[in-house]
């Protein structure tokens, strides 16, 4: 299940997973299960119920923590989106009268499988978020993280109130304006210069690829749905027809449809999800660069302020202190940033490798299944 990130959850001192989740209307309730040997926790094993909003709160508090400015904060899991299957379910209900019972049942099954797939995906993505945190040397020790895992009451009290939310929104706006800042700033460090160029370019490319992959997956799903209709109609035809031909085609087309559906969902999982996840991860890396750029800007401003102070011979010690402080911050950010970005690259390459291999293997498997099924059906036909 953990397809987009690798090497997580191996450290026995803190093992986290989401063993099950409940879907109530629009809300998903995740059961977060922790097993730990760390003394900082009250119990060695425990579970708590959490909602999506709780994850977002955790993410945002981490982002706002000054100390973590030099770290890539794992991207927040996206909100569970049941919109697409729900819409389809609605359409199906409306069109029920025009379909045969068999067709309707199959469409419903397909839709239920889709619901399940969305559900699995959202569990996975929330789980990976927590596991990223638990495997990070610094972040795993975060106090809020511990509260998130342990606090057995409802977290909504601690969650963003309206004011904070607005603050978050504002922050995002400022951030995008500062994207310009990142690109504009004069970089002294080669490493960061390269990273900046790379990440900015890569982000736009991967965003595009994600969108295209999504379209591809949708088209596959449409084809699978069409095969349902085709096989259902053939079924009713063969009911009237005296020849048994159609029954055979029916069975083969049903198998085709199942395979197409399977191809679509596997492709989605391996390829599209991979691209989606890393798109968000790269955004997180860009955020790190932004924070460092901010720190650099602050440092440069403090330098200017020091010069001014020296000129006016006023408040020199404060200015010096401030400048030192900014320098320290900047250096710290640069150091940890370098580490983070390097390990990020490694992580990304490994994840791509794993997923591309798995996707290719699945495609081969499905094609093999189809290509053995169909000749059997052809033979049945020829000799009927």
């Amino acid at each position: 299940m953990r397809s987009v990130s690798v090497d997580l959850n191996h450290d026995a001192s803190l093992l986290i997973d989401i063993p099950d989740a409940l879907c109530e209307r629009d809300k998903v309730k995740f059961t977060v299960h922790t097993k730990t040997t760390l003394s900082s926790f009250q119990k060695p094993e425990f579970s708590v119920p959490r909602q999506h909003e709780d994850f977002i709160w955790l993410h945002d508090t981490l982002v706002e923590t000054e100390d973590y400015a030099g770290l890539i904060i794992p991207p927040a899991p996206p909100k569970p989106d049941f919109e697409s299957p729900r819409e389809k379910m609605h359409k199906l209900g409306e069109g029920e009268a025009t379909m045969t019972k068999d067709e309707y049942t199959k469409m419903k099954q397909e839709l239920e499988a889709e619901y399940l797939a969305v559900f699995k995906k959202t569990v996975q993505v929330h789980e990976v978020f927590l596991q990223r945190l638990s495997s990070h040397p610094t972040l795993s020790k975060d106090r809020n993280f511990q509260i998130f895992l342990e606090y057995d009451q409802d977290l909504s009290v601690r969650r963003k109130n309206a004011k904070e939310m607005f603050g978050g929104f504002f922050k995002n706006m400022v951030k995008s304006a500062d994207e310009v800042l990142i690109s504009g700033i004069k970089e002294v460090d080669d490493f960061f210069e390269q990273e900046k160029t790379f990440l900015l370019d890569y982000y736009s490319k991967i965003k595009d690829s994600t969108a295209k992959a999504e379209k591809m997956t949708r088209a596959h799903k449409n084809i699978a749905d069409d095969y349902i209709h085709v096989s259902a109609t053939l079924n009713s035809l063969s009911a009237d027809d005296s020849t048994a031909n159609k029954n055979r085609y029916l069975s083969s087309s049903v198998s085709l449809q199942k395979v197409e559906g399977r191809v679509a969902s596997d492709q989605e999982l391996k390829l599209t999800e991979l691209l989606r996840y890393y798109m968000r991860d790269i955004q997180a890396a860009k955020d790190l660069l932004y924070r460092r750029a901010r720190a650099l800007a602050d440092y440069e401003n403090s330098n200017k302020a020091l010069d001014k102070a020296r000129l006016k011979s006023k408040d020199i010690p404060q200015a010096e202190e401030h400048q030192q402080h900014c320098l320290q911050k900047f250096d710290k950010l640069s150091e940890s940033g370098k580490k983070e970005l390097t390990s990020f690259k490694g992580r990304r390459v490994v994840a791509f490798r794993k997923n591309l291999i798995e996707m290719a293997e699945l495609e081969i498997k499905h094609a093999k299944v189809s290509s053995t099924l169909q000749p059997t059906c052809v033979r049945l036909f020829v000799y009927s």
Binding site: A219, D226, H229, N245, Y249, I364, S370, S371
Partner: protein, 513 residues
Amino acid sequence: MADTARDPPPAHTDFQELEDGEDLFLEPAVIQESGPASLPAEDISANSNGPKQDSLFDDDPEDLFAEATEEVSLDSPEREVLLSDGPSPAITPITPPTSVITPRIGLAHDDMFTHSSFDEIEEEEGGDSFDMHISVSDPEKVGDGMNAYMAYKVTTKTSMSLFKTDEFSVKRRFSDFLGLHSKLASKYLHIGYIVPPAPEKSIVGMTKVKVGKEDQSSNEFVEKRRSALERYLMRTVKHPILLKDPDVLQFLESSELPRAVSTQALSSAGLLRMVNKAADAVNKMTIKMNESDAWFEEKQQHFENLDVQLRKLHASVESLVCHRKELSVNTAQFAKSAAMLGNSEDHTALSRALSQLAEVEEKIDQLHQDQANADFYLFSELLGDYVRLITAVKGVFDHRMKTWQKWQDSQLLLQKKREAEAKLQFTNKPDKLQQAKDEIKEEIEELEGKVQQGERDFEQISKTIRKEVSRFEKERVKDFKMIIIKYLESLVQTQQQLIKYWDAFLPEAKAIS
């Protein structure tokens, strides 16, 4: 006096009728043999109108029908099979006449009206089995602007003795095909033959071609049309009766063909056709036929169901084609995007793998496109053809209803005249009486002829339809089976290609370190 005059001297008149009857039932067999011009319906009516004036029948309707069917059964005892549900109870075939005829029709004595024996007859008379292949190729644009048209080369390859040479080709345009269909339809539809419908017109499609747009969609349009024309011709010549029609032969063989102008949509003939179609639709609703033959009722229901199901299937397959084309486009777009991502990637091995992925997806996109074409040409077009064919079948059933209606109308009229005649008996004007009686006698004779004709027509069309439907169903099963096999094979090929592509990609993915 009147009564006795009306009693037919059995032997005499029967023999007379017999002669006509003989011709009556010889004609169809003869036609099957030699092909050209004469049509069963026309000849029958020509012959039967003659000597009828001499025969007078009882005014008892029941007996009337008895006589009528008796007449019919004179010629072919097998007729009893069809008429068992009919109005007449006692049918007594008169042996001498029958013996004259049996040699001809008795070829397949007991099961003349079953499918297989007709095949026998046709084959014996035709001489060779069906061996013919028609291809429509080389679409060529002739002329310029709005007067331009596409000329297609129609090549016939055959070993049948019906034709002068083994292989020959002619140039035809779309309206020629429509003209051929129009002629065949006017000759054969109303007597119960299922004439394959011609491909549909498309004003939009043709205009694009005329205007000279050399793009993907107009090329597709021409190919779609070419393929449809080929299927149309093959279906037409597979029909044993239509194959021997002189119009068909002329179409295939003669280098010059008179231009069929009445096929233009906006011509007066076109408008007339539309009006007739509307009138037909109205009439159909008002005819209440007493279906005495369960076979017809069952078959009509069967075709109604088939129609609904095929239309639905056709719609689903069209949707499939559309989505697969979409998939192809999306895959191509993704391939480009993945290539750019690969370029942007700074890890060399991953970069190479991503570029490889892009190449694989590009090849897959082409696969999808080819598969979409297969979906379309094999599956979708076949379904479209059959939807139109079933409309033709339903039309043939409707003609039978109309024939029945005509028969019933003549009967009704005859009855009225008989009643009028009876009334005449009781008028008190003897001098005018004779004249009136003679007049009415004439009218009655004429109507009796019409009634007989109507019944014969009805029986003929019913017989033809049974044969046609049986043939149609056989062809349909054959067609579908062949197409489905081809389609499945195309799917298999696609899957095998996919395996190849992904197999080639896998080591690249594994090479990422």
